[in-house]
Symmetry: C2
Subunit: 470 residues, 2 copies
């Protein structure tokens, strides 16, 4: 994970120089080479050092992306798609330089088919843009990774977040994609039908490919009906294990919980101090239920009974929006509140995902590891999926702290994989987790590499990501 471990990508100086000339002429003001803008486009929400691209170009449609990629293919120059730069594992760094394709001007909502509960958008549309646009339609796009990310970026990294336990991840919510492949050809991966058995699932292959196989230029997405009613609340538990057992029973009973978020004791302490709350300083579950008026009340009541079986409670819940927002405010401020645990520190945000039966064990072992390592690192989790995040607060200028954080992350990943889990539930591999992919999936990685070779033989699409070397 340290810079020394990042995959080296050789710079093709001649090719890059040629591309800069071509793009400057073709795109005028929509082509930028200033230091600030280049660095901003290499930077993501990560502590991984910046590796800026040589230029940033702002195409406005699929044909322009094709032009750029065709030229990059001809000159063997890396091409890196950029949405909002909110990824967490160095996905948009440019280790071999090259051209950053910023999709922010491809921000049109092309169609909303409310009868079909789907829409087609350009990749630069953010999830908040889309939901604002949908507001009066009775529909919404449910995937919420926290950041106001672009939908193209969310698909490319297979994002998910708090709603995934009910609505799925980008994997389940992308119906079809248009993408420009490494040879500059544009393809549409599927029709708008809800299901299909027609050929290989190129949609799912591109979702999560992190820009290494193609650049997404439009997405057809599933939408959900805005629920008639929402109930939500907070429930403290005597231990993480008790909370996890309540989650397991909730899922087993088929309660269609929309969000079920675990906050550990350290994170609760930070949230209580930050948001001046009257909660107990113990692990809590934050929940939300979607459905009819009767159903959301029934779901909340049933959960309350489950919680008390495991020593949890009281479960404070409400169907009144303002009161619910008040109860959830602490969870929404989790990221900011955690900063108060160590003012001035930089956060390394990492995630793993395990089968839910192993979740309590995995979090407990991780809390012990954090204590042993003298790290300040609160935990929040999308526990309905077995996914949790650790935010390691560190001084990025202290190599010892970086090393301690990195070896903690390595142990965390090994622990998750040993429990039949994955080294990343939703953040992706990027540069930060390249070392763990083969540890998790072994020889399967060779077949991923074979696909990468077949579809991008000159390795121009976001090189130096996902795989160490080919």
């Amino acid at each position: 994970m340290a810079l020394k471990d990042l995959a080296a990508v050789a710079r093709n100086e001649n090719g890059i120089a040629a591309m800069l000339g071509i793009l400057k002429q073709r795109f005028g003001d929509r082509f930028q080479t200033g230091n600030a803008i280049r660095e901003q486009h290499g930077h993501t929400t990560t502590y991984i050092p910046n590796q800026a691209p040589d230029a940033v170009v702002f195409p406005e449609n699929t044909e322009e992306v094709q032009e750029i990629v065709r030229a990059c293919a001809e000159h063997r120059v890396p091409v890196i798609a950029y949405g909002t730069g909110t990824s967490l594992e160095g996905h948009v760094n440019a280790p071999g330089g090259g051209i950053c394709v910023d999709t922010s001007r491809m921000n049109r909502i092309l169609a909303v088919n409310s009868e079909d509960l789907d829409c087609t958008v350009e990749p630069g549309v953010t999830r908040e843009d889309l939901n604002r646009h949908l507001r009066d339609s009775g529909l919404f796009f449910p995937i919420d990774p926290g950041a106001n990310a672009s939908l193209g970026g969310m698909a490319a990294t297979r994002a998910s977040g708090t709603n995934a336990v009910r609505y799925g991840t980008m994997r389940e919510n992308v119906i079809a994609l248009t993408a420009v492949m490494a040879n500059g050809r544009a393809i549409t991966t599927a029709s708008r039908a809800r299901k299909s058995s027609a050929g290989y699932d190129l949609t799912r292959l591109l979702v999560g490919s992190e820009g290494t196989l193609g650049i997404i230029t439009s997405l057809t997405l599933k939408l959900a009906g805005i629920p008639q009613a929402i109930s939500g609340g907070v429930c403290p538990f005597p231990s993480v294990e008790a909370a996890c057992n309540a989650v397991i029973m909730t899922i087993q009973m088929g309660i269609p919980v929309a969000r079920i978020e675990l906050v550990n004791q350290l994170q609760m302490r930070a949230m209580i101090a930050y948001s001046k709350l009257n909660y107990p300083e113990s692990p809590c579950l934050f929940l939300e239920f979607h459905g009819s008026e009767a159903s959301v009340a029934e779901q909340a009541e049933t959960f309350g009974e489950i919680a008390s079986e495991f020593g949890g409670g009281p479960f404070l819940w409400t169907t009144v929006a303002e009161e619910r927002n008040e109860l959830w405010k602490a969870r929404h401020n989790a990221y900011w509140s955690s900063q108060t645990l160590r003012p001035g520190a930089k956060a390394l945000s990492t995630d793993v995902c395990v089968p839910i039966s192993r979740l309590a064990e995995c979090i407990a072992a991780t809390e012990e590891d954090i204590a042993r390592s003298s790290l300040v690192a609160p935990i929040v989790g999308h526990v309905g999926d077995g996914n949790f995040h650790v935010l390691v607060l560190m001084n990025p200028d202290d190599p010892k702290e970086i090393e301690a954080a990195e070896s903690f992350v390595a142990r965390l990943n090994a622990r998750a994989v040993a429990m039949d889990g994955t080294c990343t539930g939703e953040h992706g591999i990027g540069q930060g987790k390249m070392g763990f992919l083969r540890h998790e999936l072994g020889d399967a990685v060779d077949f991923m590499v074979a696909i990468k070779h077949a579809l991008d033989p000159h390795d121009i699409m976001n090189p130096g990501k996902v795989f160490f070397r080919y």
Copy 2:
């Protein structure tokens, strides 16, 4: 679709002879070359002419499948995975001969993790086997394509069926696969975590690849809790359009319907005659709702109100299992009853899937087409997904009838694709729909072929399927 159009695959006589010697010696009684067994293994539920493999082998574990595939790779001999032979598009035919790998002896349930709502099974386990095994666990495997298919085959063809509107298809319900790839290496595509952003989605690439990329040797599957209560019933409508509009509103309102099946007028006529029912001879919806006692009653009542808004009803429904089975009996007997429309005929079962907003239009145009073509062809549909089936009853010994049926299927596929749909919602491409894949997906097919080339360079995995030529 006629034999003349099937992809020709050259026979490698020397390689096949060598393989027969190797496998006979290695597998003894578990290696068969009798005519009857070979023909049975080429035959699927289809009118497509039989192309038998040269031998059938019955491996008992992944290592034995690896041995077989390694030898086939060395001798350049086709290898065709076989589950229960219930596919509908000639998937297990052997146009170039070769070795059929029958997975029926790989029928162990390896693990049931009830806390995680998942299980791991060998590919020869059928869905009824699995559900019998799960009966006392409170869990079930919800995908129901009708036939008691093997789970390996269901994954390979991306099967779905009546429950997909609520529980998804095999695409959404396979967590991870073990597969033997064309070079004989076995890989595991994913961990048991519910979600992951670790690398390319090889699971989804293999699901629906119809044995052309690898042979599945184990599957980790999602399970669902057996619902506390089930309500179900039947509702007649004045027209297919009215029924489809009721479906659209049901889905839009977020009613989590578990099954919603359309039966057209001709199919109803057959079912009424066959099952001696007192129903009106008009298009009907058959519905099922899963949830708590209160919720399934609420769902059924709400649907009844929606139906009457569109002129449908009365909606007869019940939560009592025997009464529900009585109401649904006609739907369960649909296939058999349709045979009475033309005794002695053979059925060509085809399927398409369109966005639900186009479903009424697509079915109406298809009914007109059927009338114009003087075909006997009832329609049933998994309409919550926009997926419907036409069963063309024909005399398979009359070339004119075959031609008429084939040109009808071609028009049906073109119609579905023109409505932004797919030429197959759940049956797959096999041999029968190879001609339509490029019509639907254009240049995207070239990238599928590139993947096929990369992972199976000698084209030994189920050759002559999915793609016409490379």
